[in-house]
């Protein structure tokens, strides 16, 4: 689709990037708050324990210590820290401070003090007596009759879905179509395998941080590193019993989120400190605190059973997922659902399907939203089975995927059956560039030259190539809402106010591009203000790959209204009809009279001359559907058959994200997600000791990728246009993290003939697999 655009489709400069590169842009902790109190937290050293007593006498005697908060002096308001819409589809099972400790890293108390040193000293001086309880670490036994129970009867789901704290069941999902037994009977062979993925951390380089102060009218202002400012306001209001009208939440620049900052767990703490003392307060987590006490990617066990005919037709597919949510139920239902809803529709011709999932509590760190959101975990299983099916039936994998994947004009019953914790929304695919993704990606990796060749590159080293395909969504249909307002200034510039949250993705820039395109002006003429609950209209925030598609459409509607007003004024000024006018680069022309006016002329007239008014508008947007982006990702690996080390030589991602509003930013989303996914696949892991303590809460020991670990990377944006999206756009923020785990596993098989069932693929784990299959070399 070669649509003509002025600004859309151009890699304009990210509007905040120069100020960031110069070090001028302000992040939460960069705001100077005079005489702010520092908050430090005392964490539980036990995975499961009851607090028998807390003695703060010595701690309070430390000079500079102002207040110590704990379960005896803070009301117990059960809530969820998941920053989701209302009512949240996550259990209300969390109190700011509780008597029961449910993981090593659970919150015992918080100290507010004049200095960080005093706060830290006080944390050490608090005396706590615990009664240890039997811990629950294994999700497989969490629902057993004799398993320790983590939550009491008062923990509840705010929406009517299955939840049973007495069985440690945080969520359950089941959908079925067709006749599974019949489907398996029709199969010529059945594959059944179990796959495990691990705990992982977001590793935004800026730690979680929040600050608060009272403004001159006594309102609570919270500056915070969040993806969800409006949900923060709502949750803080409820937990602290402060009216929404008395709370203002501001998101300044934030140093990455990836889902981790969709959690609301520090804002109520700084809010409590400031509201109760009247003093500004701030908290800045240390890196170990971020690893242990913030949120993680849920580990999952996925058992996949696939019935196949000899010609490759899949007659039945049953996916059974067990998700470990750790101590609290954040995103327990929706991440689990997403593991089905964003994954199963991709191969929509399978008639007999069952997806059954359980999410359970354990005494381990808490799961939460993380880029990919469950789909990354289950695509691991699905993509390996697809690879197996193609191999066992003697077909080229690419041709196989092309034959069976969902196409334009098609649907899947899964769309309607499975949504955001409840029923979903039926939709028909209107754009799908997956075939082009497959062709271009295959060419870039050299698929047909390398596949199945097991090239020996050096003694003990062998190479292979693998593929992963996936889809995601673009926002949550009929739930996510974004809005925008705009006003015009007399130099022809426009203020754009958006609730949408730019967490570094560049959404401020692409929303400005959408407005600039609609108004036919350079993007520099849009002044963006985003994410301030006092000044900007509501937006659910940055999650579920929603901002471009949902908020972008709100901006487009809003700018169209503004344009209409501009033409109305111009028509009056030119004695013409609005539909006789043409706009070109901020100039309105009346062809018949040959007269023209600049936007500046028009706004100045509207403000000062006659029937004065402010040219301004607002608009909201929800979407009736969630068009999926598609991606084909290819890995070429080299396996050391002596050590089990996998090296990724090249990684290619070919993505259909509709019309990219800003190609460089879209590529950046893909590249960032891929490298995050590569280290998720190969190195990142939470290591626990026998007491449930994480033993490696540091970047190097957890091991995220650095520049030196990079393979050759190639990103291809294929030609696509989604008619329901703003200027043809779909989402691109999450999808690319799905590919590395399965693509590397499939490439590893191509090289060695051995399947990997567990992540991360560390040398020791891979070595063991090679040994089991007698593929080790000396």
């Amino acid at each position: 689709m070669n649509k003509k655009f002025n600004t859309v489709g151009k890699s304009v400069r990210k509007i905040d990037s120069l100020s960031l590169a110069k070090g001028n842009a302000l992040f939460t902790d960069d705001f100077q708050l005079k005489d702010a109190l520092h908050i430090s937290i005392l964490y539980s050293p036990h995975a499961h324990a009851e607090i028998l007593s807390i003695d703060t006498t010595d701690a309070l005697a430390i000079p500079g210590v102002i207040r110590i908060f704990h379960h005896e002096n803070v009301p117990r308001v059960l809530h969820t820290t998941a920053g989701q819409g209302f009512p949240e589809p996550s259990a209300y099972d969390t109190a700011m401070f509780d008597k029961t400790m449910r993981f090593v890293g659970d919150r015992v108390a918080a100290v507010a003090a004049e200095t960080k040193e005093a706060a830290n000293a006080a944390v050490k001086a608090i005396k706590v007596e615990y009664r240890e309880l039997p811990p629950l670490f294994d999700p497989e036994t969490a629902m057993d009759k004799d398993a320790p129970q983590l939550h009491g009867e008062d923990a509840k789901m705010p929406i009517p879905v299955k939840y049973d704290a007495s069985r440690n069941l945080a969520a359950e999902v089941e959908i079925k179509f067709g006749d599974l037994d019949k489907g398996f009977q029709e199969a010529d062979f059945i594959l059944e395998d179990t796959f495990h993925t691990q705990y992982a951390a977001h590793c935004a380089i800026e730690p979680h941080t929040s600050a608060a102060y009272l403004d001159e009218r006594g309102r609570l202002v919270i500056i915070t590193a969040t993806q969800v400012p409006f949900h923060v306001r709502r949750i803080v209001s409820r937990v602290l019993d402060i009216p929404i009208r008395d709370i203002r939440v501001i998101k300044p620049r934030i140093g990455g989120g990836f889902g981790g900052k969709q959690e609301v767990f520090l804002e109520q703490l700084v809010g409590l400190s400031t509201w109760s003392t009247g003093r500004p307060s701030r908290i800045y987590l240390t890196r170990p605190e971020v690893f242990v006490s913030s949120r993680t990617r849920h580990p999952m066990r996925v058992t996949l059973k696939t019935g196949v005919k000899n010609d490759g037709e899949i007659t039945a597919l049953e996916m059974d997922a067990l998700m470990n949510n750790g101590a609290y139920g954040s995103h327990a239902l929706t991440v689990l659902s997403n593991g089905g809803s964003k994954v199963l529709p991709l191969f929509n011709k399978i008639k007999n399907i069952r997806f059954i999932g359980h999410t359970v509590y354990t005494n381990l760190p808490v799961g939460g939203a993380y880029r990919g959101y469950g789909a990354s975990q289950t695509y691991f299983a699905l993509n390996q089975h697809i690879d197996m099916v193609a191999r066992k039936t003697g077909q080229d994998l690419i041709s196989f995927v092309k034959k069976w994947h969902i196409k334009v004009g098609e649907t899947s019953p899964v769309f309607q059956a499975l949504g955001e914790g409840k029923e979903g929304v039926a939709q028909i695919i209107k754009s799908c560039g997956l075939d082009e993704c497959l062709d271009k990606g295959a060419a870039a990796i050299g698929w047909y030259e390398k596949r199945g060749k097991r090239i020996k590159s050096a003694p003990g080293k062998v190479r292979g190539v693998g593929l992963s395909v996936s889809m995601q969504g673009s926002g949550i249909p009929k739930i996510d809402m974004g809005s925008a307002s705009m006003k015009m200034n007399e130099d022809g510039s426009f203020n754009l106010y958006i609730g949408a949250t730019d967490l570094g993705t560049g959404s401020d820039t692409i929303l400005a591009q959408i407005a600039a395109e609609t108004l036919d002006i350079p993007v520099e003429n849009i002044i963006v203000l985003s994410s301030d609950t006092d000044l900007t209209p509501f937006d659910v925030g940055a999650y579920a790959s929603s901002t471009t598609y949902i908020s972008g459409a709100a901006v487009k509607k809003c700018a169209a209204k503004v344009r209409e007003q501009i033409l109305g004024v111009a028509a009056k000024m030119l004695n013409a009809k609005p539909d006789e006018l043409k706009v070109n680069e901020s100039v309105v022309t009346h062809a018949e009279s040959g007269k023209s006016l600049t936007y500046a002329d028009i706004c100045t007239y509207a403000m000062y001359s006659n029937d004065q008014f402010q040219i301004q508008a607002s608009a909201s947007n929800i979407a009736p559907e969630s068009p999926p982006p598609f991606i084909a990702q290819f890995a070429e690996v080299e396996v050391d058959l002596r050590t089990g080390k996998i090296r990724v030589l090249k990684f290619v991602s070919a993505v259909d994200c509709g019309q990219p509003i800003n190609p460089a930013l879209a590529e950046g989303q893909v590249e960032g997600a891929v490298v995050n996914g590569l280290s998720y696949a190969l190195t990142e892991d939470y290591l626990f000791d026998s007491k449930g303590r994480m033993t490696n809460p540091r970047f190097w020991d957890f091991k995220i990728f650095t520049t030196k670990d990079l393979p050759e990377m190639e990103t291809i944006l294929v030609n696509s246009y989604e008619e329901t999206g703003p200027y043809g756009a779909k989402s691109v923020g999450e999808i690319a993290i799905n590919g590395p785990i399965p693509a590397i596993a499939n490439a590893f098989f191509d090289a060695t003939g051995v399947r990997l069932y567990e992540t991360p693929y560390t040398p020791e784990r891979v070595w063991k697999r090679l040994k089991e299959e007698n593929r080790l070399e000396n």
Partner: protein
């Protein structure tokens, strides 16, 4: 302890305790462009030039920097820093931007030593600066672009 530091060519009177790190002293005195990502010397968000050498300021005791000159991203020589910053912007290498001041400093230090680094050398030089947003691809392109632009001007 009270002393004077030279930060970005200006004397700054600072007060600190003997265990304070240079990172804390800088941030407490308004140099908020120096970021804290880990306090472990692992992420590079807090790098500064200490007597012209790239260091993690979280790994330097403030007391040991008393007679040294400290340069943050805001104190770099403009004609050398600007092309790097512009290259980061043009290459799309800035996403959240939290690591960017450190990346710019690391690039500055690299180009001082090696005006025309190859990809391998860039990867080596930036290995101590973590970024979770970009996947480093455009950061490496930005360093190449900065080097090209700087060299074509000389």
């Amino acid at each position: 302890m009270k002393t004077k530091l030279t930060v970005n060519n200006k004397p700054v009177s600072v007060q600190f305790s003997p265990t304070d790190r240079l990172l804390d002293v800088l941030r407490n005195n308004g140099f908020s462009e120096v970021k804290e990502g880990c306090r472990d010397g692992e992420c590079g968000a807090c790098v500064v030039l200490l007597n012209g050498k790239l260091v993690n300021s979280c790994q330097v005791l403030a007391a040991s920097a008393m007679d040294a000159t400290v340069t943050t991203v805001k104190g770099l020589e403009k004609d050398k820093a600007a092309p790097i910053q512009e290259a980061f912007v043009d290459a799309g290498a800035v996403q959240c931007g939290f690591c960017t001041p450190g990346m710019v400093l690391a690039t500055y230090a690299l180009l001082q030593e090696n005006p025309a680094p190859d990809t391998r050398q860039i990867q080596q030089a930036l290995d101590g600066n973590l970024c979770r947003c970009t996947g480093y691809v455009k950061i490496i392109e930005a360093v190449q672009l900065a080097a090209e632009r700087t060299n074509s001007h000389e």
